[in-house]
């Protein structure tokens, strides 16, 4: 028996957290013209911030959201200045810039693993496959936390579910923050002068530079903000999902699939596509598991990452311009029809 409500909640949080990343991925993709392959691992840094804050330093959980924002934003700036800006100035072709983000990813994952080993060795804490649900604040007070944790077992991740009478904090905090960031970006991009410079850079970096836009500054700010957002998403991740150092490599596939499906040029459609992929992935796995519980000696849920992959291939083959491109085409056709009437 599948608790569909619980699965839907699972999909909601999963998609919400990945939406932070998709939005940031698309923004830096548009301003710096390179897909940041390390974006998933940026989130993984936030994941470990939460582990340090809650378990090692034993501070209130949500401090790590602020801390991760700052730390990962600075990592973003460092990566931009130290790697991408340097390579661009040396006249490196686009392809080497792409590879450089993979190199950054390799280094970051290794560093995360080193500190994970250190946490395990020195602080005797589980740092691979840890889950910090009990560190989350609980909103709604009718049930004791202890009892709540014993109720129900999540079919996908084999972890206890909190019954709906209490609401874990992440369930409210994540969407609120996502909404806040989205509004902030809309304001920044469309109501401020700097936003105009950003949009100009997206349209045509060379032309923007000619008219006096400081393209490097635009890039720096976008790497700072998107890094910070990835940090926030990462900080919230272990409050609901089992986490480990290489979690970024898994998430980045979702981010990339959502980015293509939504259309790389649009922030809002990327978020829509993230939710589509998240729901299809989680609900789809739960549904298929009820029909075929086991494929090739392991549970069907182990193949879950294949779903965003298939959606990615589907998008590449049939709508390579993404949902945004489709809407754009539709809009163009409408305008054409209208003007034809006038002429």
């Amino acid at each position: 028996m599948v608790a569909w409500g619980a699965v839907a909640v699972q999909a909601f949080i999963y998609s919400t957290l990945i939406a932070f990343l998709t939005m940031g991925f698309n923004l830096t993709y548009q301003t710096a013209r390179i897909p940041n392959w390390a974006h998933g691992t940026f989130a993984a840094v936030g994941v470990f911030m939460t582990l340090w804050v809650t378990r090692v330093w034993e501070m209130p959980t949500y401090y790590s959201v602020i801390l991760s924002f700052i730390v990962v934003a600075l990592i973003g700036v460092a990566v931009y200045l130290g790697v991408i800006y340097t390579l661009k100035r040396a006249g490196a072709p686009e392809i080497l810039l792409l590879i450089s983000t993979i190199a950054v990813d390799i280094i970051l994952i290794a560093v995360l693993n080193i500190q994970a080993d250190y946490i395990q060795e020195v602080h005797k804490l589980n740092s691979r496959g840890f889950l910090l649900r009990e560190e989350d604040i609980v909103i709604g007070f009718n049930l004791d936390q202890e009892i709540a944790l014993q109720e129900g077992v999540d079919i996908l991740l084999n972890v206890p579910l909190i019954p709906p009478s209490t609401v874990p904090g992440v369930l409210l905090v994540a969407p609120t923050l996502l909404l806040g960031f989205t509004l902030f970006f809309l304001f920044l991009l469309y109501k401020t002068k700097f936003g105009m410079a950003m949009r100009a850079t997206v349209e045509n970096p060379d032309l923007a530079e000619v008219v006096g836009v400081n393209v490097d500054m635009v890039n720096l700010v976008s790497w700072f903000l998107t890094g910070g957002m990835a940090g926030v998403a990462g900080a919230l991740l272990p409050l609901w999902f089992r986490s480990y150092p290489a979690i970024g490599s898994l998430i980045i596939i979702n981010v990339f699939a959502a980015s293509i499906l939504g259309g790389v040029r649009s922030l809002s459609m990327a978020i829509v596509a993230t939710y589509i992929i998240g729901y299809v992935e989680i609900m789809g796995t739960a549904w298929i598991s009820t029909i075929i519980p086991e494929i090739g000696g392991v549970s069907t849920a182990s193949y879950r990452p294949l779903i965003p992959l298939l959606l990615l291939i589907f998008a590449l083959m049939f709508i390579p311009e993404g949902i945004y491109g489709l809407l754009e085409k539709y809009r163009e056709r409408k305008i054409k029809a209208r003007t034809e009437g006038i002429v």
Binding site: L87, L98, A103, I107, I109, A110, D117, F256, G296, G297
Partner: protein, 371 residues
């Protein structure tokens, strides 16, 4: 200090080390050359290189063992049924569950069958190449016409998909635990007196030398220049009537087939296939670094890069355990950091590698008429 460490190694260890090294270098030369065809010559940034290697390994893990198992089922059953009762009820499952016993029984049997096992070895390698070619084609279908950044990300995603299937789907290659590969050159031991290490050596060297010779013939022919034309400018190539997508798909097919061959001989050498060991670090990132270090698109770049880096890695792998007690973390992560840093350093300071590609000269085209 290094001298002391070397002297501590027994002679047999040194010989083993050298044979192992030659073997690893040979396999990685093949993989780096596969990448050179795709990226160096044609400009396809295949960051999913590992899936080609994995496909070849899965073929080696799936095909010869299962075929022999069905051919000699009665003999194997007689030998194995005591240790592994599953074989009586579910022979199919028993192949994976009692894999080691089955392998031992099969190795005993095929020792007396030189003709069959050699034919099977060649057939397996051919199937591995074919499966690699097919995978190259399949991966190209959604991806090849994309812009370079989309193309790269799609290939990474496809490689991830192959990894997920290989690591989970047990009938293919035993899932996370892996599966053994029968020693198809085992007949050399009783007949010619060659021990296992020599058998593998013969296999690896002959496969590598033949493949590399073929590849060099191909790359030096006008076909090599066709690939480079596509890399240099797709628009210009289109304008002179080259079917750009077709050429790129061909490069993907050839490269992935070579990678699959490397994967198959690698599994024959090890005598097993463990899907979790076909990581992107070992089979995508390291070959990429080798190619970038040696020089992409140059004729000896892949060979120099693979030899240099593999030698360094093997030497480190011998000594790294002496450090493991001193640090509060696994030393493998230091190697990974070195890998990432090496990428950045090469890209910033030596973007064309140690042996940059030389412009080719054609008689009558590049030679100006004498005044």
């Amino acid at each position: 200090m290094i001298q002391d460490l070397v002297l501590q190694l027994p002679l047999e260890g040194v010989i083993n080390f050298i044979v192992n090294l030659v073997f690893f270098v040979a396999v990685y030369i093949l993989v780096a050359t596969a990448l050179n065809i795709q990226y160096g010559y044609t400009g396809i940034p295949n960051f999913g290189l590992a899936f080609g290697v994995a496909v070849g390994a899965y073929v080696a893990g799936y095909f010869p063992g299962r075929l022999l198992y069905s051919m000699y089922f009665e003999e194997v059953k007689a030998k194995v049924e005591v240790m592994c009762p599953t074989i009586l009820e579910n022979p199919d499952q028993a192949y994976i569950r009692c894999n080691i016993f089955v392998r031992n029984a099969l190795n005993e049997i095929i020792k007396a069958e030189p003709g069959l096992s050699t034919a099977l070895l060649i057939l397996t390698l051919v199937i591995a190449i074919g499966a690699g070619a097919l995978m190259g084609l399949l991966a190209s279908i959604p991806a090849i016409r994309l812009r370079v950044d989309f193309l790269m990300m799609s290939l990474i995603a496809i490689a991830e998909g192959v990894r997920i299937i290989g690591e989970n789907y047990e009938p293919l290659a035993g899932g996370t635990l892996g599966v053994t590969v029968p020693a198809l050159l085992g007949w050399m031991e009783p007949i010619l007196g060659f021990p296992r290490i020599v058998q593998s050596f013969i296999l690896v060297m002959s496969a590598t030398v033949m493949t590399m010779a073929l590849i060099y013939l191909m790359l030096r022919s006008p076909y090599g220049r066709l690939l480079k034309a596509v890399r240099e400018s797709e628009d210009a190539a289109l304008a002179v009537g080259i079917d750009v997508n077709r050429v790129k798909i061909e490069a993907m097919i050839i490269g992935t087939a070579v990678a699959a061959l490397a994967g198959a001989i690698y599994s024959f050498y090890l005598g097993n296939v463990v899907p979790t060991s076909y990581t992107r670090y070992d089979w995508t990132f390291w070959p990429w670094l080798m190619l970038l270090l040696g020089g992409r698109g140059s004729e000896i770049g892949a060979i120099v890069g693979a030899t240099g880096i593999m030698t360094l890695r093997r030497v480190i792998s011998v000594y790294k355990h002496s450090f493991s007690g001193l640090l509060p973390f696994d030393v493998i992560w230091l190697e990974r950091i070195a890998l990432g840093v090496a990428f950045l350093v090469i890209m910033i300071f030596k973007p064309y590698g140690l042996f940059p590609e030389k412009p080719f000269r054609l008689k009558g085209v590049h030679e100006l008429p004498r005044e």
